[in-house]
């Protein structure tokens, strides 16, 4: 009799639970069946009046039911919570609305390029050193085998610093190339030497889309016994491969710089026409990217390195030229006019 009552309760409770879709209804259900004054408790309380045999049977069944309902409640509650969470999220976001950006700056394209170049050479064991931008004539020309009135001085239109009166006639200038760092390094250290020297250089030059009076160069120098032009070729071809990619062709041709002998100009095959000839490369199919050569024996002698025992190579390249080629930038003046609309593209 009583057992039937328990079974009825069981089927009713689980029917009702199945239909519940709302947390409040679920709570009401819990109070109704499992609460302190709930149906199941009342049944358990009324057990005392039953004969022992029935009491045992009903009691066992009622306790079992209590566990089942409690478990069902927890399960239902979790389901409802998940449904709710889902339904709340179903109040859809327009995911095309703009995201909130975290302000992040950028390095200047020249800095990025310098880091890239220096990184490649660092991996080949070259150490980064720097030298002064305001230099003595001696380091910029004299010690590099370019005495006063040497015709090669015309290659470097120089900005002079007004200092002669104060320095007793030693001409001071804004360095027109990074090569003076070669001399400063060789004065201070003995072979083996393997350095690169990035930095600003200055020229007396009218500016236009392809000329700027201030720009950056990277100088390289390696001095030791038995360093050869073949090593220079290997080093620079490897550099070009890292910078411009595996299938870039490189070329060494004879050129003249007073502080190297033999002198070299290195070119890569044109990025636009791949050697066929176009406007970018002046129809030659090649694009010059740097000057180099074996350090001139006079230069070594001047810094007390015996050119009959030691040899070395040096190279120098313009930095802006590479992003100009890589990104097709049509005006070098964009670099140092610092328009954010330009800088933010890199």
């Amino acid at each position: 009799m009583m057992l039937n009552q328990v079974e009825d309760l069981a089927s009713k409770a689980s029917d009702e639970l199945g239909k519940i879709t709302d947390v409040n209804d679920l709570e009401a259900w819990r109070i109704h069946y499992l609460g302190r004054k709930g149906s199941l408790i009342q049944i358990l309380r009324s057990l005392a009046d039953l004969p022992l045999k029935e009491r045992r049977a009903v009691g066992a069944r009622a306790n079992e039911l209590k566990e089942v309902l409690e478990a069902a409640f927890v399960e239902k509650k979790r389901n409802l919570r998940q449904d709710l969470a889902l339904s709340q999220r179903r109040e859809a976001l327009d995911i095309t609305l703009p995201g909130q950006q975290v302000p992040l700056g950028r390095l200047h394209p020249t800095t990025q390029m310098l880091e890239e170049i220096c990184g490649i050479f660092s991996n080949m064991g070259f150490q980064v050193v720097e030298g002064p931008e305001v230099e003595w004539d001696y380091y910029s020309f004299e010690a590099l085998n370019i005495p006063a009135d040497h015709p090669a001085r015309d290659m470097f239109a120089t900005l002079w610093v007004d200092s002669e009166a104060k320095t007793g006639g030693r001409p001071m200038l804004l360095r027109p190339h990074t090569s003076p760092v070669q001399i400063r390094v060789m004065e201070k250290s003995r072979p083996p030497i393997r350095i690169i020297a990035p930095g600003r250089v200055y020229r007396y030059e009218a500016t236009d889309a392809t000329h700027e009076w201030m720009f950056y160069q990277v100088e390289g120098l390696a001095v030791d016994r038995n360093i050869t032009l073949a090593d220079l070729k290997g080093t620079l071809f490897e550099f070009a491969r890292c910078l411009f990619g595996e299938d870039r062709k490189c070329r060494f041709r004879c050129d003249y710089f007073p502080f190297v002998e033999p002198g070299v100009e290195m070119a890569i095959d044109c990025l636009v026409c791949r050697g066929a000839g176009c406007r970018l490369c002046g129809n030659s199919g090649w694009i010059e990217i740097l000057g180099a050569g074996m350090v001139h024996p006079e230069v070594l002698r001047r810094v007390d390195i015996d050119p009959e025992v030691y040899s070395g190579f040096a190279f120098g390249m313009g930095v802006e030229r590479i992003p100009i080629l890589r990104y097709g930038i049509d005006d070098i003046r964009l670099f140092y006019s610092n328009d954010l609309r330009f800088l933010k593209q890199f």
Binding site: L97, P98, V102, P103, L104, G105, R106, L107, H108, T110, G125, Q127, V129, E130, P132, E133, V134, W136, A148, D149, P151, A152, L159, W160, V161, D162, S163, K166, L174, P192, I193, R194, R200, Y202, A206, W213, M214, D224, T228, A230, D231, K233, G234, E238, R251, F252, R253, C254, D255, P258, E261, P262, M294, H296, E298, F335, Y336, N338, D339, L340
Partner: protein, 801 residues
């Protein structure tokens, strides 16, 4: 240097296709910058001979000209003044490609009826052929031209534009380039034989040369011709000169120019009768001495200039330009030809001094051979005798104080391997150098080659020079490619580089865009950094030859550059702008190079105007700028403090010095409104400036690990009422000094109606934590009470309930 291939062919056999030749020249150091073909489109243009000239029935100025073309003849209408029977001309058939004489455009010749007469072609001017701008008359070809043959056989040419490096003045000549081609292609060279008859009397009887400055003029040669007739030079010579970009003038000047192009030696012709005292004197100019150069300009000279003078006056600026007084004119009958070698430095300085970059000075400035004057002079004398019909005086004046013997150079065979990285035998080296005209003598052992340098190679002075010669003749492509195999040098730490890199990266991740601004600026720009528009700091160093007033002084501050960039970009960008530059400033030092000090300068400026669907963005203020300084420096492990600042560019009361201990590291603050105004900035901007080098010296060398506290912390909030002038820092310092206090955070600051006048309320959250145990309420209460007592005692702080 422009050189005619037709001309080159006279001196060297061209045995490789032109394209290959250009490639080899370029690879060997003579870069071919351009190739221009003359006559490539002359398919329908022939050599014709004028056989008949008749007047045009309907026009006075036009004539009917019959031209014999070999197999046929044509009659055309022609208006040129120099039409004459027997003349060989360039005849264009209908269909030929020409340049329109009036419009300058490329056209194809069509049959035409001119004033009622049909014209079956055209007799061409230089302009119509595209050779020059000459359009005054038709081209008259030399008499040898064969009637009916294509014009391109006579006038067609290819012009190579070569970029000659400063070490190779010998290649500023047709013969020099021919020598290179012979060496590079292994072909034969034919240099013209020079011979002429000297029919006049001994030159010493009529002229003399004295060199007063033997260091500046190592050699001076002169020849003399009398009875010459000034006229136009022959057609072929004029043709050559104009193809090479020189204007034909008269036979005398044309010969000197022709020989200059041919040999690279500058020659000058004087009208002998105008040379007073019949003596050439090479000396320095007197200070203030004046002469009028060929271009009609009066030049004021000084003792820096080397001049050619006669007994009374200056007649030429040596190696730069001749004078008007002794210029060859139509009435000249006797000429003295100068062929000299001048010191390259004095010519270089002189041409800079006169702002005259003539062809002449270009050549001398590069250091020509001292053997060349005699060789070129003989060639010029020969040509003059042939062309201008003069009688050559017996002998040549040759004053040669600078004669020196060229010593042979020893080239160790091993140097090839040592410098080029490739093995070569003595025999191969010798063979290669001999192609270039070097004389080689193998020493007894095979380890050395003794090399005699040919007279024209003034650039070769050591073994390395010879190594380059070998390399460029065999070709750089033949040199192997190897990686450096030598020992790696010791690594020297570069702390400044790594600090710079870190600073940059931190700033970028804080939203700052890096800029790089010019190192040169103006005093005006630097002055803008002070509200009084006066220069702050040391007087900047000046460039003595600035390109403009804006780029005259070496910057002593990065601020002006960065603020200018801010102002420029503000025109395009509305929201917050954050910029920084890490760069050098230049501080003058006595008798030395300036101190180049690395600085960091950042600005941040912006407003709520930013348009965003998410609502307003926090406006930038002083505390954001200060917070950036704190964040950036704490990332680098530096603990900084702030003190009232004095910086003139910044606002009173809104500026602070950034300190590490007692050392000032930089500044942070709001820019002074006056400064903003001169930079045309309309809204507040905040400046951060850090002395990177000082930062490096003050940064804690070693970071130290702090154990993480394991026991739970307890937090208490207190609100304190204090006098307005008590600073946050004063209170905070006291609280932080108590043991068990882990951190103090200010979370509210209030002054106003709720508190009495002259007071402010600060609310702090204090976190207590012990490294050894879990704190009890009792322990915390005790410390908190001590804190409150101390604050009351020191500042009269009252706990707000």
């Amino acid at each position: 240097m422009k050189v005619s291939v037709r001309w080159l062919k006279e001196y060297v056999d061209l045995i490789v296709p032109l394209e290959d030749l250009c490639e080899r020249l370029t690879m060997a150091g003579l870069e071919v910058g351009g190739v221009e073909v003359i006559g490539g489109e002359w398919d329908d243009i022939l050599v014709g001979k004028i056989v008949d000239v008749n007047s045009h029935p309907n026009a006075d100025r036009l004539r009917l000209v019959t031209v014999d073309l070999g197999k046929q003849s044509s009659t055309v209408v022609c208006g040129a003044p120099n039409v004459m029977v027997g003349g060989k001309v360039a005849f264009a058939r209908v269909g030929a490609h020409l340049i329109d004489g009036h419009s300058g455009e490329r056209v194809q010749l069509k049959p035409a009826k001119i004033r009622g007469v049909v014209s079956e072609g055209m007799i061409c001017s230089e302009k119509e052929l595209g050779i020059s701008d000459g359009h005054e008359g038709i081209v008259i070809l030399s008499a040898e031209a064969i009637v009916g043959s294509p014009l391109s056989e006579y006038l067609g040419d290819t012009i190579l534009d070569l970029d000659i490096t400063p070490n190779r003045p010998d290649c500023l000549s047709v013969i020099g380039i021919a020598r290179e081609i012979a060496a590079l292609t292994g072909s034969k060279l034919h240099i013209p034989e020079v011979s002429y008859r000297e029919l006049g009397r001994a030159i010493d009887l009529d002229a003399a040369v004295e060199i007063k400055e033997p260091n500046l003029c190592p050699r001076y040669c002169a020849s003399l011709l009398d009875g010459i007739k000034i006229a136009s030079s022959p057609q072929w010579m004029q043709q050559r000169l104009s193809t090479c970009g020189m204007r034909p003038i008269n036979n005398i000047v044309d010969v000197t120019n022709y020989v200059m192009l041919e040999y690279g030696q500058l020659l000058h012709a004087f009208d002998y009768d105008e040379i007073r005292g019949k003596k050439i004197i090479v000396r320095r100019a007197g200070n203030g001495e004046v002469m009028t150069t060929l271009d009609g300009i009066e030049r004021k000279l000084n003792s820096d200039f080397l001049v050619i003078a006669d007994k009374e006056r200056v007649v030429a600026v040596a190696g730069i330009m001749g004078g008007g007084d002794t210029e060859v004119t139509n009435s000249t009958t006797t000429v003295l030809i100068e062929s000299a070698n001048f010191n390259q430095a004095v010519i270089h300085r002189g041409s800079l001094g006169l702002r005259l970059g003539s062809e002449a000075s270009l050549r001398f400035a590069k250091g020509l051979s001292r053997d060349l004057p005699m060789i070129a002079l003989k060639r010029a004398t020969q040509l003059l005798a042939e062309i201008a019909g003069g009688k050559v005086a017996k002998g040549i004046i040759d004053v040669y104080p600078g004669k020196k013997k060229m010593e042979p150079i020893s080239l160790p065979v091993a140097d090839i391997k040592r410098l080029l990285g490739m093995e070569m035998k003595a025999g191969e080296i010798t063979k290669t150098l001999e192609l270039l005209g070097f004389g080689c003598m193998q020493a007894k052992s095979d380890s050395q080659v003794k090399v005699d340098v040919p007279w024209w190679r003034t650039d070769i002075s050591c073994a390395a020079d010879l190594v380059e010669e070998v390399a460029r003749i065999i070709g750089y492509d033949e040199i192997p490619t190897t990686m450096l195999s030598s020992q790696l040098p010791r690594h020297e730490p570069a702390p400044m580089l790594s600090l710079r890199r870190q600073l940059r990266n931190i700033l970028v991740s804080c939203g700052f865009q890096e800029v790089l601004t010019y190192s040169l600026t103006s005093l005006e720009m630097l002055g803008r950094l002070s509200p009084q528009l006066r220069l702050i700091g040391p007087t900047p160093m000046k460039v003595s030859n600035p390109m403009s007033r804006e780029q005259e002084y070496l910057r002593t501050s990065l601020r002006a550059g960065v603020l200018s960039v801010l102002a420029r970009n503000r025109r395009y960008q509305e929201d917050v702008i954050r910029l920084f530059e890490i760069g050098k400033i230049f501080l003058p030092r006595e008798r030395d190079l300036p101190q180049e000090k690395e600085m960091l300068c950042a600005v941040i400026s912006g407003s709520e105007r930013k348009l965003s669907w998410r609502g307003k963005v926090e406006p930038i203020d002083f505390f954001i700028a200060k917070g950036l300084v704190e964040s950036i420096l704490s990332r680098l492990g530096a603990i900084v403090g702030f003190e009232d600042g004095e910086d003139e560019s910044l606002c009173l009361g809104r500026r602070a010095s950034v300190m590490i201990g007692k050392d000032k590291l930089g500044v942070v603050g709001e820019l002074h409104p006056k400064v903003l105004e001169v930079f045309e900035l309309s809204e507040a901007a905040y400046l951060i400036e850090i002395d990177s080098e000082k930062l490096l010296s003050l940064m804690a060398a070693v970071k130290k690990y702090q154990p993480i506290l394991r026991y739970p912390s307890t937090s208490r909030d207190v609100a304190l009422l204090v006098d307005e002038q008590i600073t946050y820092q004063q209170i905070c310092d006291i609280i932080q000094n108590f043991s068990l206090v882990n951190s103090v955070t200010l979370f509210d600051l209030y002054a106003g109606e709720q508190v009495s006048a002259g007071k402010k309320s600060l609310a702090f959250r204090i976190i207590y934590q012990s490294p050894t145990h879990t704190l009890t309420d009792n322990e915390v209460d005790k410390v908190q009470q001590q804190i409150l007592d101390k604050l009351q005692l020191d500042f009269g702080a009252i706990l707000r309930s």
